[in-house]
Every structure is written in structure tokens, then in C-alpha cells.
């Protein structure tokens, strides 16, 4: 990251740090009641935790689980399997806690924050807007005649190498790491689709089996959802940039 963008990242993190929106819902009325929570900085220090390092595995998620089990069970974060749900900001970069190796240099703390601009509680981001944007690009196959569905394989004729590069490797997991490291998405997230969703829209545009390419909402290159991309190309620490380059 360039110094300027790093500063703005820190700034955003600081603002985000100061506030957590927690909407208490009743069926009668939606009244968001923000509550202030200070994020802790998580240290992993083998000297004070005794033999925990041997029990704790080598990745950041293992440390978080360890902390939750043994020190503070109120620590809240999402985790399941290799699914992209544990995305968070670790030491300034968006990444997956389950793939991020613990830096065993004990003089440096590890700072974990939730993904920028999307809070619920602790390290849990609110993903509703992100999912709604994905739904808006119609991520499914459309055929003119679907009466024969289920009877015969469709042949895929697009250049398989491209599709493979985008769909198979690296694989797409909805982690939102890239979108939430994009300043344009921070500032216009309600209008701009963001790199993740744009990349998926592109995959469906080039999918040869789809017969409604022209009607896809994402086809118009000058529509607002795409216009906000200023090709800032911020990298996330676990993704390669082929995704962003393809846009």
C-alpha cells in the first residue's frame, strides 16, 4: 500500500474502531442503537501463556479460538471451514484468519479488526449489502428453452483456460476481502458493486452456456455500479490480483 492509502486505511479503521452499529430489532420498529466498543489488540505471547503455543495451531484462527476457549468466551467471530467466513483485517490487510500464519515474533502484537466498514459485533461484519449486490447480478444460468433441462449436458465452448483461471483457481469464496479493501467500495458501497461482485458478473458474461448475455444487468459498461471503479487495485494479502485485472 502506498503511504497515503495506508494512512486513509488507518483512518477508516480508527473511525470504524470507535463505533459499532448494533441494531436492536423489534417487530414493531427498527431503532438502531449504536454502542461503543473498543477493540482489543490480540497479543500472542508464548511467555505469558505457558504451554499454550503447543496446543494452539499455527494460524491466526487457532489463536482466536484459543483466546475464546481459555481467556474470553465473549469474543465473537465467524468461523467454520474453508468457506471464506472468517475474513477479517489482520495487521492492516484483509485476509482469512484460517489461512493466515501466526507470526511467531513475540515482540510484535497481532492486530485483528473486522473488515472495514461493515460491523455487527467484535470481528463479525454485516454482509447483507454484499450478498444483495451479488444477487443483483443474477449469478445463474439462463437458457431460452429450459424445457429440456436435466436431459443433456450443455457443451462449454468458451476458452476454458480463462474460465478456469477465474472459477477454479483461485477459487471464489465470497470473503469480501477485496471489496472491503477498496476505498471506492468504502465510500460508495451502496452504489458501487465492488471488485468481488464485478468479477463474478464477468464470469457470467463470458459463460458460453448462458443465452441471455445481452440482457444481463451488468452488461452496460457505463452503468453506475461499474463506473465507481477507479482501478485503485489494492491488493489483499491472500488473493492474487488476476481477479481485479480481469475487470
Amino acid at each position: 500500500l502506498s503511504p497515503r492509502s495506508h494512512a486513509s486505511m488507518e483512518q477508516c479503521s480508527a473511525i470504524a474502531n470507535a463505533m459499532v452499529a448494533s441494531a436492536f430489532f423489534t417487530a414493531a420498529a427498527l431503532a438502531p442503537e449504536p454502542r461503543i466498543k473498543h477493540f482489543q489488540i490480540y497479543h500472542w505471547d508464548p511467555d505469558t501463556t505457558g504451554d499454550k503455543p503447543r496446543i494452539c495451531g499455527p494460524i491466526v484462527l487457532d489463536a482466536l479460538i484459543n483466546i475464546k476457549n481459555e481467556m474470553d468466551p465473549t469474543l465473537t467471530f465467524r468461523h467454520s471451514c474453508i468457506c471464506g467466513t472468517c475474513a477479517m483485517n489482520i495487521n492492516g490487510g484483509n485476509t482469512l484468519a484460517s489461512l493466515n500464519k501466526l507470526d511467531i515474533n513475540t515482540s510484535k502484537p497481532i492486530k485483528s479488526y473486522p473488515l472495514p466498514h461493515m460491523y455487527v459485533k467484535d470481528l463479525v461484519p454485516a454482509m447483507n449489502n454484499f450478498y444483495a449486490q451479488y444477487k443483483s447480478i443474477e449469478p445463474f444460468l439462463n437458457k431460452r428453452d429450459e424445457s429440456q433441462e436435466g436431459k443433456e449436458q450443455y457443451h462449454q465452448t468458451i476458452r476454458l483456460a480463462i474460465l478456469k483461471g477465474l472459477l477454479e483457481h483461485p477459487i471464489y469464496i465470497f470473503c469480501a476481502c477485496c471489496s472491503t479493501s477498496c476505498p471506492s467500495y468504502w465510500w460508495n458501497g451502496d452504489q458501487y458493486l465492488g471488485p468481488a461482485v464485478l468479477m463474478q458478473a464477468y464470469c457470467w458474461l463470458i459463460e458460453s452456456r448462458d443465452e441471455f448475455t445481452e440482457d444481463r444487468p451488468s452488461k452496460d459498461p457505463f452503468s453506475l455500479p461499474k463506473k465507481k471503479c477507479h482501478t485503485l487495485v489494492f491488493k489483499t494479502s491472500h488473493n492474487d490480483s488476476p481477479h481485479v485485472k480481469s475487470i
Binding site: P34, H117, Q153
Partner: protein, 661 residues
């Protein structure tokens, strides 16, 4: 409304004024209902004034949004039913996403194939504990199910001429076992599960299913032996929701997390099995836990069987391809239970690898790097991240790891949940269905073949939708439900939220996991199992002494993990008690003190002249287990295996035989 204000005061936290939030945060704080759901909910304080309940009405409710859950949910929406999908995870986070290898179907793209050969392989793989009518249904539907997925847009790997690529997989043969290795596992590189789930999720967005994401289902709403819906906790704001419906489909997956080392997600906690148990209904065959031969040593991450399908081999410390001794024909592609046992024996006999001689090696570097990059990119990355191994140069250290639960909620081949009495036989539980890993149809019997699970999900997910469409019409009036239905679940929730005993959730969980790992592993003996049952009973009792810390109601993961622990415990006690009682070795259940299969006839010898053993004296039968949740006491009954296919002329049933590869 007074009740609501009380609730507001009880549940709200201290508020400080805040700066205006960026637009993104504000808009993302919308209600679940207005984003996805329909406006048919109302609030009541029928259960408690402290926990107001929101009531919803639907034609069908699906619990779980993995492969099976999604397929059932949008199948129902497609048929015109007003459907809710209640899930504790966002759909693409379900454990289906981690499946790697593929999905079996006799498409015949690589060589001539017949679904009846797939049927034979599956029946044999189940060690003749699978119900052959369900297996007939699944294998016959397989080609259609896979083509349907492809038509939904799933990006299968392709052969040179553009057809779906099929690889070799464990236990798959041609010509009823006599024609050599079959290639019928359709795959998307080594990320088939991920692709399948994303395809199904994308497709599901075409329909108007109401998704209730991050709602933790607490219990079934049962009245007079009929299932009338589900009660759930909204994790985002702590509200309680009752989903009333004529049809409830359980698709909540397996319970790998009862073990210390498993390939399963942290969220694989057997919630559906536990809900059914608390409703007084039985679970089936829980003692059959599959140990996948190749989980990464230490980390437990899965290395797909597809590696061996592409030519990878298992090596011991002497560099020997030891599977040639245990399974002369299939070698490394023998059935999973056979391979897991072989690896365990090699380690026990001192030929394990590594400094502690406690694992085996999976060698891939003899394969062309281009093939590894195209067909196995995912595990190449996994091996590097979790084992620090470059698969083009070094072998991967592997160990049998808990992977799958063959057992679950007993259903017939149409997905309807059943109970059983010796007098009346199988009886359907009205309003309740199950599919996927949570169910036990039983297509996998005592051991599951690789690449049959993804097939199981889509076929039986669809079957549940079809069965419901056959017996119901959309918009049918719901039968009345007591106003305080679900009271016990909320009382339990409240008790756990303020629990102030002496043992943390994580402590009790680790005790349970270690007990299962040490006492109910690949090889089991009576004495060790009995000890395990007693220890597990003691751990179960410590649930009364549990202590939680997070007293809030918003995103309280301490509470949710404790609810999950309750569910895991119910699964664990049934598993270990069923295993202790079953005195034979069949499929994945391997007893050192009872090494043989005990069928009604001795199939190793000529059958002429043999006398059929009575039901009580042999073990070719399903276990049905129930638990008294207050005491943790397990009761076991048994149910016969279904030995006939759906159509004897179309597909002859396979009589039991000795199982060797």
C-alpha cells in the same frame, strides 16, 4: 406492546451518541425479513414476556442450507410452495463447500457404464447395511442429477471433446466388480463441493425462497406425534422465531466435532440429530463414523481421495505401496474403511512414517506436474499451507481422520422420517423430512463410498421436495399450535445464557472430544468402548455444571457454542453406546474382539443347508437409538435392513457376499 418495552429494557445495552455512520453500514443493517422474507410475521408473548416470539407461517421450512438444504428449498419454491430456509450459516459457508473429490454418476463419458454397476458398488460399499431401495433410487437418478447440475451452470472439468470429465474413485468398478476400475466420479478439479454449493446458491436466487440466515434452530415443534415447525434463535438480535409449517425438512449435516481430530467444519455439530432426539424420535446407525484415510497429519485438513484417483499412492516408512497387500485389486482405491484400517495397521506394526512413526505418506510427485496443477490445484495449496509440503517434490503426511457420519435421522427412500416398531414396522412421522448427511436413508449403510455424498445431497434434497409436492398443495391451512409451543427451548436458552457453574463450554467440549477420540476410533474393543461409555456419561453430567460468560443476546457466540455442545453431546452418547453394543465388525465399525461380520447366514460358506439366524442373534440390522436428555441414558432398538430394490426386474437386488477389494 408493554411486553415489548420490557424486552427492550431487558435486552438493550447502554447507548452513547454516535457519529453518523457511513451509508454502507446503515443500509446493511436492514431486517432479514425485508431483504429476503415475506411480511407474514407477528409477535406474541405466548412463551415469555422476557423473550417475545415472532411467529411465521410457511408451507415448508428447510433447516440447513448446504447442498441438500438448498436443493430441497428451491425445489419446493419451484413447485410453488411458500418456503423458508432457516440456517445458522450463510448458505455458501455450509460444510458442503469443503467437499473436494466429486459426484458419482454413470454417465459413461470415459468408458461404457451402467447405473446398475454403480448400484452394486454402493451396496457392497455399505457392507450390506444399506437399504437397497434407497440405493436403487439414488444410483438410477444420478446421471439425471449431475446433468441437471451442469444445466444449472456448474463448471465441471471437461474432457478434450467437451464432455464432463470423470475420474476414478474408491470402490467404483465396472460389470459388478468384474470389469476393473470405473471412472464415474464427475468433478470440478478438486473443488467439486465448492462449485456445487455455489451453483446451487446462485440458482436458488432465481426463486423466492425466504432465507433466514444466521438463525440457530433450537428445536422441532412437535404436537401429537406430528411435526408442526421449528423454533429458532436469531443470532443477529437475539429474537426468538417460530416457523410454523406443515412440512419441515432437516438438512443440518453431520457431527464430526464430537471428535478431537476431524476434517469437519467447526459448525458440524449435529443440530438436526439432536433436535430429533429431544423430540423423542430415534436416530439410526450412529456408531458408523467414517475415518477418511487421508487427512493431513496434525492439521486434520482433508486431502481428497481424488489424489489416489489421479494416480497418487500410499507409502509406509519402507517406501512400500502397502495397499497392494491389503487390496490386491483396487489397491489404493479400495473402499475408505479398508484403507483407513490398512494405514492404522501399518502404523501399529511399526512401519509408520515421521520421527514418531505415527502416520503414512501420500505420494504424488511421480505424477506429471501439469496434471497436478489442472486436476488437483486445491490440495496442492492445502498441502503447502497446512503441511508445508510441495506436492511436486515431497509426499504429504496423512492419517485417518473423522470425516463423515453414515448414520443420522432414519428416513425412507422418499425422504420421510420414520420410526419403527416390531409390530407395525416402519411408520412415517407426519410433517417431518430429512436429507443429506443428517439423514440415514440409508444409502451408505456401514460405510460410504467417496463421491456418493454429494450425490446423496442433490438426489434426496430433490426427493424431499417431490414428496412434499406429491402429498401437499401450496397454501394449505395449518393445524393449530399451542400458544406456548417451544417454551422448553426458550427456558433452556435462558438457563444457558446465565449459566454460572464451574466448567467452561470449551473444557467440557474437549473432554467429550478426547473421550471419543481415545475410545471410539478406527479399531474398537469392548473393554475400551465400555470405559468410553462410562466416561462419556460422566462428561454428560458435567453439562449441569456449565459456565457461560457472555450475558448479552446480540451475536452471543458463547451461547450458540454452548447450544451446539448440548447437541454434540447427544450425538456422542448415542455413537459410543451403539458402538459398544454392536458385537461384530461391519464397514467402518471395526471390533478387534469381534473381527467378523455377523449376518443371518454365513456368506463365507455355501448357503445350502444353513439355518437362518433369528433377528436377535445376528447383526445385519440398523441400530435405532434414543436418549433421555435429562439423564443422558441411551436406549437401543433394532430395525431390519431393506433388501429389495424398487423394481426387481429393472435392477436385481444384490444378496450379501464377502466383501473384498
Amino acid at each position: 406492546m408493554a411486553a415489548l418495552s420490557t424486552a427492550s429494557r431487558v435486552l438493550a445495552k447502554k447507548v452513547l451518541s454516535a457519529k453518523a455512520l457511513p451509508a454502507v453500514s446503515q443500509s446493511s443493517r436492514k431486517l432479514h425479513f425485508s431483504v429476503y422474507g415475506k411480511n407474514n410475521s407477528k409477535v406474541s408473548d405466548g412463551i415469555s414476556t422476557q423473550y417475545p416470539v415472532v411467529d411465521h407461517e410457511f408451507d415448508a421450512v428447510v433447516v440447513g442450507a448446504g447442498g441438500a438444504g438448498l436443493r430441497a428449498a428451491f425445489g419446493l419454491s419451484e413447485a410453488g410452495f411458500n418456503t423458508a430456509c432457516v440456517t445458522k450459516l450463510f448458505p455458501t459457508r455450509s460444510h458442503t463447500v469443503a467437499a473436494q473429490g466429486g459426484i458419482n454418476a454413470a454417465l459413461g463419458n470415459m468408458e461404457g457404464d451402467d447405473w446398475r454397476w454403480h448400484f452394486y458398488d454402493t451396496v457392497k460399499g455399505s457392507d450390506w447395511l444399506g437399504d437397497q431401495d434407497a440405493i436403487h433410487y439414488m444410483t438410477e437418478q444420478a446421471p439425471h442429477a449431475v446433468v441437471e447440475l451442469e444445466n444449472f451452470g456448474m463448471p465441471f472439468s471437461r474432457t478434450e471433446d467437451g464432455k464432463i470429465y470423470q475420474r476414478a474413485f474408491g470402490g467404483q468398478s465396472l460389470k459388478f466388480g468384474k470389469g476393473g476400475q470405473a471412472h464415474r466420479c464427475c468433478c470440478v478439479a478438486d473443488r467439486t463441493g465448492h462449485s456445487l454449493l455455489h451453483t446451487l446458491y446462485g440458482r436458488s436466487l432465481r426463486y423466492d425462497t425466504s432465507y433466514f440466515v444466521e438463525y440457530f434452530a433450537l428445536d422441532l415443534l412437535m404436537e401429537d406425534g406430528e411435526c408442526k415447525g421449528v423454533i429458532a434463535l436469531c443470532m443477529e438480535d437475539g429474537s426468538i422465531h417460530r416457523f410454523r409449517s406443515k412440512n419441515t425438512v432437516i438438512a443440518t449435516g453431520g457431527y464430526g466435532r464430537t471428535y478431537f481430530s476431524c476434517t469437519s467444519a467447526h459448525t458440524s455439530t449435529g443440530d438436526g440429530n439432536a433436535m430429533v432426539t429431544r423430540a423423542g424420535l430415534p436416530c439410526q446407525d450412529l456408531e458408523f463414523v467414517q475415518f477418511h484415510p487421508t487427512g493431513i497429519y496434525g492439521a486434520g485438513c482433508l486431502i481428497t481421495e481424488g489424489c489416489r484417483g489421479e494416480g497418487g499412492i500410499l507409502i509406509n516408512s519402507e517406501g512400500e505401496r502397502f495397499m497392494e497387500r491389503y487390496a490386491p485389486n483396487a489397491k489404493d482405491l479400495a473402499s475408505r474403511d479398508v484403507v483407513s484400517r490398512s494405514i492404522t495397521i501399518e502404523i501399529r506394526e511399526g512401519r509408520g512414517c515421521g520421527p514418531e512413526k505415527d502416520h503414512a505418506y501420500l505420494q504424488l510427485h511421480h505424477l506429471p506436474p501439469q496434471q497436478l496443477a489442472t486436476r488437483l490445484p486445491g490440495i496442492s495449496e492445502t498441502a503447502m499451507i497446512f503441511a508445508g509440503v510441495d506436492v511436486t517434490k515431497e509426499p504429504i503426511p496423512v492419517l485417518p481422520t473423522v470425516h463423515y457420519n453414515m448414520g443420522g435421522i432414519p428416513t425412507n427412500y422418499r425422504g420421510q422420517v420414520i420410526t419403527h416398531t416390531p409390530e407395525e414396522g416402519d411408520k412415517v412421522v407426519p410433517g417431518l423430512f430429512a436429507c443429506g448427511e443428517a439423514a440415514c436413508a440409508s444409502v451408505h449403510g456401514a460405510n460410504r463410498l467417496g463421491a456418493n455424498s454429494l450425490l446423496d445431497l442433490v438426489v434426496f434434497g430433490r426427493a424431499c421436495a417431490h414428496t412434499i409436492a406429491d402429498i401437499c398443495t401450496p397454501g394449505e391451512k395449518l393445524s393449530p399450535l399451542k400458544t406456548n409451543a417451544g417454551e422448553e427451548s426458550v427456558a433452556n436458552l435462558d438457563k444457558l445464557r446465565f449459566a454460572d457453574g464451574n466448567m467452561r463450554t470449551s473444557e467440557i467440549r474437549v473432554n467429550m472430544q478426547k473421550t471419543m477420540q481415545n475410545h471410539a476410533a478406527v479399531f474398537r474393543t469392548g473393554k475400551v468402548l465400555k470405559e468410553g461409555c462410562d466416561k462419556m456419561d460422566a462428561v454428560y453430567q458435567t453439562l449441569d455444571d456449565i459456565k457461560t460468560f457472555d450475558r448479552g443476546i446480540v451475536w452471543n457466540t458463547d451461547l450458540v457454542e454452548t447450544l451446539e455442545l448440548q447437541n454434540l453431546m447427544l450425538n456422542a452418547v448415542q455413537t459410543i453406546n451403539s458402538a459398544e453394543q454392536r458385537q461384530e465388525s461391519r464397514g467402518a465399525h471395526s471390533r478387534e474382539d469381534f473381527k467378523d461380520r455377523m449376518d443371518e447366514l454365513d456368506y463365507a460358506k455355501p448357503l445350502a443347508g444353513q439355518v437362518r439366524k433369528p433377528f436377535e442373534e445376528h447383526w445385519r440390522k440398523h441400530t435405532l437409538s434414543t436418549v433421555d436428555p435429562k439423564t443422558g441414558k441411551v436406549t437401543l432398538k433394532y430395525r431390519p435392513v431393506i433388501d429389495n430394490s424398487l423394481d426387481a426386474e429393472d435392477c436385481a437386488a444384490i444378496p450379501p457376499a464377502i466383501r473384498s477389494y
